[in-house]
C-alpha cells in the first residue's frame, strides 16, 4: 500500500465512522415506541410512519385497546378497574403509559428525558 493510499483509507474510515456516529446520535429520536407486556416486547412502532389503527392486546382474559391516531398513541379502552392507563392520555415526553393490572407498558424506545418524576 502506498503512503497516499493509506492516508486516503484512513481519512475515509474516519469520515465514515464520524458519519455513522453522527446519524446514530442525531437521528430524530422519540418516534419509536415499544409496547411491552410482562417485559416482552410485543410491538416496536415508528409513530411517524404508522397509519391510524387500533391494537388489541389481551392478558388473562382482559383486553386493552391501544389507538394510534395522527402519529399519537394512547390507551383507548382497558378491562382494568382503575383506568390509570387511560387517564395518562397520549404518550409524550413525560411518563410511559402503564396498565398495571394487565402488565402492559407503552413507552418510547429512546426517551427524551432521563425520567419523569
Amino acid at each position: 500500500m502506498t503512503r497516499k493510499k493509506a492516508v486516503v483509507t484512513a481519512l475515509c474510515t474516519a469520515l465514515l465512522l464520524t458519519a455513522v456516529c453522527f446519524v446514530m446520535l442525531h437521528r430524530p429520536h422519540g418516534d419509536t415506541v415499544v409496547i411491552k407486556q410482562d417485559g416482552k416486547v410485543l410491538y416496536t412502532l415508528d409513530l411517524s410512519k404508522e397509519k391510524d389503527r387500533e391494537i388489541v392486546v389481551e392478558y388473562e382474559g382482559r383486553r386493552n385497546v391501544i389507538a394510534i391516531e395522527d402519529g399519537d398513541i394512547y390507551m383507548k379502552q382497558a378491562d382494568c378497574p382503575d383506568h390509570v392507563c387511560i387517564h395518562t392520555g397520549k404518550l409524550s415526553g413525560g411518563a410511559p403509559i402503564i396498565c398495571l393490572p394487565n402488565r402492559l407498558v407503552i413507552e418510547y424506545a429512546d426517551g427524551r428525558n432521563d425520567a419523569a418524576g
Binding site: 503512503r3 493509506a6 492516508v7 483509507t9 484512513a10 481519512l11 474510515t13 474516519a14 469520515l15 465512522l17 464520524t18 456516529c21 453522527f22 446514530m24 446520535l25 411491552k36 410482562d38 417485559g39 399519537d72 382494568c80 378497574p81 382503575d82 383506568h83 390509570v84 387517564h87 395518562t88 392520555g89 397520549k90 404518550l91 409524550s92 415526553g93 413525560g94 411518563a95 410511559p96 402503564i98 398495571l100 393490572p101 402488565r103 407498558v105 427524551r112 428525558n113 432521563d114 425520567a115 419523569a116 418524576g117
Partner: protein, 333 residues
Amino acid sequence: MKLCKLIPVIAAAATLCGCGGQHMEQYQMFAMDTYVTLSGYCDRKTLEDAGEEVRRLEGLWSVNIESSDIARLNRDGSAELSAETAGLMSFTLSMSERTGGALDPTIYPVLREWGFTTDEHHVPDDDTIAELLENVGWEKVTLDGRSASLPVGTAVDAGAVAKGYAADIIAERLKSGGVTAGIVDLGGNVLTFGQKPDGSDWKVSVRDPFGDGAAGTLSVGECSVVTSGSYERYFEQDGVRYHHIIDPATGRPADTGLESVTVIAGESKLCDALSTALFVMGEDRAFDLWRESDDFEMIMITSDKRLLISEGIADRFEPDSKKKDYSAEVIRR
C-alpha cells in the same frame, strides 16, 4: 502509513462524535404496585439483583401480602418488625409529626373503604367515614425499637413513603456495589445518583396534570424528584371525580385546589412523604412549611393553572414553552 497509525485517527473520530461514551443499562419490572425502572452504568446482573431487593422490600411492606410486616401488624395488632420496616415506620411517624398529621399511615382503613387499595371504588357514606376516622391518628401507633403495636380498629399502610424509602435503599446498594451513576425510578418516584459520563445534568420531566406530556423539565444533579397528583388514580361517580389522596382530617379526597405537588430533595423518602403531605396541606400551609425548612424544594400545579416554584429550584426548572395557559410564579422565602 501502517495500520497502527490509523488507530488513533479512528479512535479520535469515534470519541469526537461521542461513540466512546458508556452505555446505560436498564432493567424494568412490576413491583410495589408500580412499574419500576432501574438504570445504571453497570452490567444488567447488578440491576437484576437490585430488582430482587425491591421485591424483598415489597414483601416486607405490602398491605396485600399476608406475610408482610405491615400485614402482620394490622392483623395481630402487634408485631416484631424487620430493621427496614421499623426504619420505614419510624420515618413515617416522624413525617406525620412534622406535617401536623397531613401524612398519616393510619388513614389506611379509610383509603380501603374508598376502594383505592382494592380497586373496588365507591363513595362511603358520612357515618362510615366518621366511624373509621375515630381510629385514625398517627399518635396511636406505638413503636419501640422494632416492636410495633396498634390499638384495636387501627391499621397502617406505609404506601405514601414506601417507594421513596425503597429508592434510597436501592440507590445506596447500587452505589456501594460500585455503580458510578444511575436512576432508580419506582413508578415516577425518581432518584438520580452520580454523574452522567458526559457531565450533563439529569433531565426529569414534571407531568402536566391537565394534558399530555410535561409541564416542564428539571435539570438536576444527584437528588430525588417525586410527584403526588390527583390526575391519575381517581374514579368518577355521579359526575364527580374522587382522587386517591385522602385528607386524614376529613377522610375524603384532599380538596385544596391543587392538581400536583412535586418535591425535590436529597432523599427520596423525604420527597415521597412530603409530596403527599403538602398536597393535603394546600398551597399556603405547604409554603409555610417550606419557609421554615431547608431540606426540600417544590413545584405546585394548582387547579387554576398556576405553576408555583420555590426559589431554590427555579433556575433548574424550565416550563414547557408550548404550554401557554400556565402562569409561572417563583415563591420567595
